[in-house]
Every structure is written in structure tokens, then in C-alpha cells.
């Protein structure tokens, strides 16, 4: 069985095991977020109201009146400010910007350290640890956003694979198994798809669609099956002449049965290896699409949205660098883990596949 084989190979490779552990932890975190156990909801409705900030004292009064019960670092800062404790440091570090107009509050992950420098620790210790990665410009917990991004990343990686892999396997196996005119058609179809540069194809499809996650998933799915299809076809080509296939055929088994029950299990390692590569690819594509402005709606907390929002955040003075850094680190770790596992599997299962 390929699965047992896969496990045996992976267990011997320490780096791959570490990576696999990382992926598993990420998957568990994503699942916890999905079922609402971890990370509070960060969708649009829960976004903190933008508050026009006037004089600190007046603002404090209004906050008390409106009973903003959600724990929010801003409250504490306002408290400090109105008591004349931290104005200088706060302005200096750009943790809070009190201006008349449209600015609102955010704080970087280092808030605790900076507070310690000023000897005001007791009050904010609990608050600061509630936001280990700080808050973004909307006052949302960056760690929560990134965890939601993790959940979306798994959804993107898995769902697009569920769309693309069946397309690739069915088309590729038909071409490779039957050969002749069927194969010509299959090759024609995938050559056509491969000819249009992938990003352009994505763009052309998405420009005129709603910005829903479902559309993004479908479009990424239907534009990323070509590589796998090509590999599956080539592998079926080799396998259809093997003895076990001839034996199955001489026993009078149907084509469908031979393709799916006999040959497919023998080429399934390609699917497994491809999955590790395309998972990361799909997540990166989402980032690209979000940046270009044809991805999902900005209210969804995908990493793509975090990164594309960072363009404006970085340009601010002082710049808000921590959401972008967080998303980049998360993406980096996940990509690295997947490519190490993928490489390890590929080296062991099919060294010829290396590119």
C-alpha cells in the first residue's frame, strides 16, 4: 500500500518529520479556529467601530457612555493618557495616534517592553498579553487574524486540490490509458490551458466574478490541474503495457475498473507529491489575487488580504509592520514545511519527478 510506504519513508527522515509535525499543528489550529474554539471572530460585523477621537477626556467620557465592553488596548492607553502618564512615549512609538479626524488606534507587539521602559507595567500586563502580536489599524487582534488566515489557507489548499486533482486524474488517465485519438484530444486540451499564462487565465476568469471565496476557490482549482494531468498521463502511458494490466484485461475487467482499481493506486504517489506542491501554490495565488484586487472580499481575514492591506500600512509614519511580518512568517513556515515534506516524499517515491 502506498500510504504505509509513505509513512515508512517519512519516519526515517527527521527533517520531514519535523515539517510534518508543523503541518499537523497548523491543521489542528486551523480546525480549532474553524469550530470557533480558538481566535475570536474577526469578520466585518465584529470590527471595532471607528471612533472619531477628540479630546482624550471627552473621548473617555463617550467610551464610558457607550459601554465599549470589549477589552481593547486603546482603553488603557486613553486611561494612561488622560492621567498624563504616557503621552510622550505613546506618541514617540506611534502606538497611539490621537488626532482629530480619521486616525484610530493600534499597537505593536512590543508594547509590554516599551511600557516596562517607562515603568508602567502592572496595569497593562494582562492587556498586552491578550495581543501577543499587537493589534492592527482597526484594533483587531493580529494573532486572531493570522489564525483565521491559517484556516483560510487550509481551506484554499484543500478545496482547490479537491477540484483540480479529480480533473487532472480523470483527463490524464483517459489520455494515457486509451491513447490514440482520445490522447490527442487530451493533449490538445491541456496544451491549450498551458499556453495561456496561468496568472492571466486567473485574472481573465475572476475579473468579472463576484469577490466570493467560492469563486476564488473554483477559479484556482480549474486553472491549476495541467501539471498533474501531464504527469498522470505519462505515468498511465507506462503502466498500461505492464503485465498486471494485461492480466487484468485478459480477465475481462472493464476499462473503468482497470483505470481506477488497478493503475490508479500505482500512480497515486504522484498525486500525493503534487498535493504538497500545489497546496502552497494555491495559497500564494490567493495572496496574488488579493493584492491585484480581484481576490476575496477584504472583510475575509485571509493572508492575502493582510498582505495587501500592508501596502498602505507600511507607508504610514510610523509604519505598521507587524501584521505583514506575522503573515509572512506564517506563510514562510507553512511553505517551508510543505516543500520539505514534498521533497522528502519525492526523493523516496519517485526521484525522476524532480524539477
Amino acid at each position: 500500500m502506498p500510504w504505509r510506504e509513505v509513512w515508512r519513508i517519512l519516519r526515517k527522515d527527521r527533517l520531514a518529520m519535523i515539517s510534518l509535525t508543523v503541518i499537523t499543528i497548523c491543521a489542528v489550529l486551523a480546525a480549532l479556529v474553524h469550530f470557533g474554539i480558538l481566535a475570536e471572530d474577526v469578520s466585518e460585523t465584529h470590527r471595532l467601530r471607528r471612533i472619531e477621537i477628540g479630546e482624550p477626556s471627552a473621548f473617555l467620557l463617550r467610551m464610558q457612555r457607550e459601554e465599549l465592553v470589549r477589552p481593547f488596548a486603546l482603553d488603557s492607553w486613553i486611561w494612561l493618557l488622560s492621567n498624563g502618564l504616557a503621552l510622550e512615549s505613546a506618541e514617540m512609538h506611534g502606538m497611539i495616534r490621537l488626532r482629530r479626524g480619521r486616525d484610530w488606534s493600534y499597537h505593536p507587539p512590543t508594547v509590554l517592553i516599551q511600557l516596562q521602559e517607562h515603568g508602567i507595567v502592572g496595569l497593562l500586563r494582562r492587556e498586552a498579553w491578550a495581543y501577543p502580536l499587537g493589534t492592527n489599524l482597526d484594533g483587531q487582534n493580529v494573532l486572531s487574524i493570522l489564525l483565521h488566515g491559517l484556516r483560510w489557507a487550509f481551506i484554499i489548499g484543500v478545496v482547490t486540490s479537491l477540484i483540480a486533482i479529480p480533473i487532472a486524474v480523470v483527463i490524464g488517465s483517459l489520455g494515457g490509458y486509451f491513447g490514440g485519438i482520445v490522447d490527442d484530444i487530451v493533449v490538445w486540451i491541456y496544451s491549450t490551458f498551458a499556453s495561456v499564462p496561468q496568472l492571466l487565465l486567473l485574472i481573465a476568469l475572476l475579473t468579472f466574478m463576484d469577490k466570493s471565496m467560492m469563486n476564488v476557490l473554483i477559479v484556482i482549482g480549474v486553472t491549476t490541474w495541467v501539471d498533474l494531468c501531464r504527469l498522470v498521463r505519462a505515468e498511465f502511458f507506462k503502466h498500461k503495457e505492464r503485465e498486471y494490466v494485461l492480466a487484468a484485461r485478459s480477465l475481462g475487467q472493464t476499462h473503468t475498473r482497470i483505470i481506477f482499481r488497478h493503475i490508479l493506486p500505482n500512480v497515486s504517489h504522484i498525486v500525493i507529491i503534487t498535493f504538497t506542491i500545489r497546496f502552497v501554490q494555491a495559497v500564494s495565488l490567493e495572496v496574488f489575487l488579493s493584492y491585484v484586487g480581484i481576490g476575496v472580499d477584504p472583510s475575509l481575514a485571509t493572508w492575502g488580504q493582510v498582505i495587501s492591506a500592508a501596502k498602505d500600512e507600511l507607508a504610514r509614519q510610523p509604519s505598521v509592520w507587524w501584521p505583514l511580518t506575522g503573515a509572512t512568517v506564517f506563510l514562510f513556515i507553512l511553505s517551508l514545511a510543505f516543500s520539505i515534506v514534498g521533497d522528502s516524499l519525492r526523493d523516496a517515491l519517485d526521484p525522476k519527478l524532480r524539477t
Binding site: 491549450t192 503573515a327 509572512t328
Partner: protein, 342 residues
């Protein structure tokens, strides 16, 4: 050889047809004319303008009744209350649309863009900045990665080799959008080693292009090292290498005179296939650094829902890909006679 070339050319024709069919489906079938009209007209969209748009773009024609009515209205002989409704126009048959669409593309007639400039001229203008950035970037990254790959091959199996493999995996794991943001922020905006964005004609343009080129090289290095290293390692186990060593040639001579030359064959294929991507420039780099190339034009077209420009870019990209593949196949046939048969 000629026969082989002709066979390859004939093989490219159905693919080109497929590309036209695919883009036609994208732009005409999946998106209904009404949806396109609303998207393109934006605020000005109402039943009247949508109808006119459909007629103007050739999606619909007037029925005989409609034709009579328009003539009457134009000449002022219409009875009061005569208005054109949706019943006076009918959609043009799909095959006709497709034929017209295909002919337009093949004759490079892409229509006019949102600002009423000919699309083909806009794209031609965008090609220069794109190539100016991408050609040096591509060459630089290829030279560096090939050199590093040879270096890895020379020290294969040692810690140095392994370090480069790890480096390649690391580089590949960085997200390009985020990396560009960081580089632009630190190298250009904060530390001012480079201008933040802009473009200039002539050689002085490279003051602006230096950072994008640098980032391109950094981003493509991971994939490049991996690809070229495996290429070199595949060659190094060939018989001719053993023969060369047996002759007593030094490791450097073997690598540079023998291995590199033989590795050129797959490399040329890779280069040929990369041409369409050079044409596109880098969508991201061009927008980040304000380079008025094709990538920037494409993104602008996306944001403005500029249909004609997008269609042209998609088609030209695909056309170049097909042509590049064709060239690669033919070059392959010239270099390696075994390919011609079979």
C-alpha cells in the same frame, strides 16, 4: 529536418485554435454581453446604453423592425411614441461572433481601450519598459544560478552543496508579494539606496530599475538553483564525463567545457519557454515600482475592467508561449537529431 519543422508547426495550429476558443469562452460565453456592458459602462449603464453598447460591439444587430424604426427616428418621420426596445435587437449567432473574434485576434486588431487609444499601440509602447527590466533581470539570474549550480555540482554531496539546496528551499518559501513590500520599504523608502518608484527612458532608467531587477533575481534564484543543479548533476553522471576524466582533464575543464555545454540543450528549452513571461514583465514588480510596462498596463486594465486590453494581453501571452515552444522544439531538433524521429 524540414519535415520535422513542418510537423511541429502543424502541431501548433490546433493549440492556437484552442487558445482562441478558450479566450472566446472566457470573454464571451462565461460572461454574458449584458454583464460585460454593465461592467464596462459602470455608472452610465441603463437599458438604453447597454443596448447601444451591444450593437456597437457587434453582440447584437437590429431586427428588420428595429432597423425600420431607427431609420424613422433618424429621419424624423417616426410617429410619436416610437421607441427602440430590447425586442428590436437580436443577438448575433455564436459561430459568427467566434469567427469575427478569431479573425480580429489573428490580424492583431484588438480594438480600442478605455481611453480610445488603439490597444495594439498601447501594448507596443509597454513592451519597451518591460523588456528593459526583464531581459537584464532574467540574464543576470540565469548566469548567477548556472554558476552556483556548477559550484554545487563541483562540491556535490558536501556541506556546501547541501547549504545551497537549503538556501534554495528557503528562497522558494518566501512569499513574493510580501518580500517586494519589505524590500521596497527598507531599501528604497527607509534607507534610500534606491528610488522608490518611477521610470526614465534611456540608460538613466536603470537607476529606477535596479531594485526591481535585484528583487527579481532574488525571487527567481531559489527555483533557478534547484533546476540548474539537478540539470548539472544529471549530466555529471553521463559516460562522456567519465571519459573526459579518464583522459586526465581537470575538474574545472570537465565542468565548464563538457558538462555546461551539454546542459545547454535543456537550458535553451527553458529559456525559450520563459520568453512569454519576459513579455509580461513581472506584473507585481511593475506595479510596485511604477514601471509603465505591460504588467502595469495589464493590472490597470483589470482595475478599469478594460476588456479589449485584457483580451489582447491574454491572447498575445498565449501566442508567444506557443511560438516559443515551437522554437524550442525546432531548436531541440537541430541540436539533438534523435528528437526528429518518433
Amino acid at each position: 529536418m524540414l519535415l520535422y519543422a513542418i510537423r511541429r508547426i502543424l502541431y501548433a495550429i490546433p493549440i492556437l485554435f484552442g487558445v482562441i476558443l478558450l479566450t472566446f469562452t472566457l470573454f464571451y460565453v462565461i460572461n454574458t454581453p449584458d454583464a460585460l456592458a454593465i461592467k464596462e459602462l459602470q455608472k452610465a449603464a441603463n437599458p438604453e446604453t447597454v443596448r447601444q453598447w451591444k450593437i456597437q460591439k457587434g453582440f447584437c444587430v437590429y431586427t428588420e423592425e428595429g432597423l425600420r424604426k431607427t431609420k424613422e427616428i433618424e429621419t424624423g418621420r417616426a410617429s410619436p411614441g416610437t421607441v427602440i426596445t430590447d425586442e428590436d435587437i437580436r443577438p448575433v449567432a455564436m459561430p459568427v461572433l467566434f469567427l469575427r473574434y478569431g479573425l480580429d485576434l489573428l490580424t492583431f486588431d484588438f480594438g480600442r481601450d478605455r481611453d480610445d487609444r488603439p490597444v495594439s499601440q498601447v501594448l507596443l509602447g509597454g513592451m519597451v519598459p518591460s523588456l528593459k527590466m526583464m531581459v537584464p533581470a532574467f540574464c543576470l539570474s540565469e548566469i548567477i544560478t548556472i554558476f552556483l549550480a556548477l559550484f554545487c555540482a563541483l562540491y556535490r554531496g558536501t556541506k556546501i552543496d547541501r547549504a545551497f539546496v537549503v538556501l534554495a528551499v528557503f528562497l522558494m518559501s518566501f512569499n513574493s508579494v510580501a518580500l517586494i513590500l519589505f524590500f521596497q520599504k527598507f531599501l528604497a523608502a527607509d534607507w534610500r539606496y534606491f528610488p522608490i518608484s518611477g521610470y526614465d527612458t534611456g540608460l538613466s532608467g536603470y537607476a529606477y530599475l535596479a531594485l526591481p531587477i535585484l528583487i527579481y533575481v532574488g525571487l527567481s534564484m531559489g527555483v533557478g538553483i534547484r533546476f540548474n543543479r539537478i540539470l548539472m548533476l544529471d549530466e555529471i553522471h553521463q559516460d562522456y564525463v567519465r571519459t573526459a576524466r579518464a583522459k586526465g582533464l581537470g575538474e574545472n575543464t570537465v565542468l565548464f567545457r563538457h558538462v555546461l555545454r551539454n546542459a545547454l540543450i535543456p537550458l535553451i528549452t527553458r529559456w525559450a519557454v520563459s520568453i512569454p513571461f519576459l513579455y509580461l514583465g513581472s506584473l507585481l514588480l511593475e506595479t510596485f515600482f511604477g514601471i509603465p510596462g505591460l504588467g502595469g498596463i495589464t493590472l490597470e486594465a483589470i482595475q478599469n475592467a478594460d476588456l479589449n486590453t485584457m483580451r489582447a494581453v491574454v491572447f498575445l501571452g498565449a501566442l508567444l508561449f506557443v511560438l516559443a515552444n515551437l522554437t524550442a522544439d525546432i531548436l531541440y531538433g537541430i541540436v539533438d537529431p534523435r528528437v526528429r524521429v518518433g
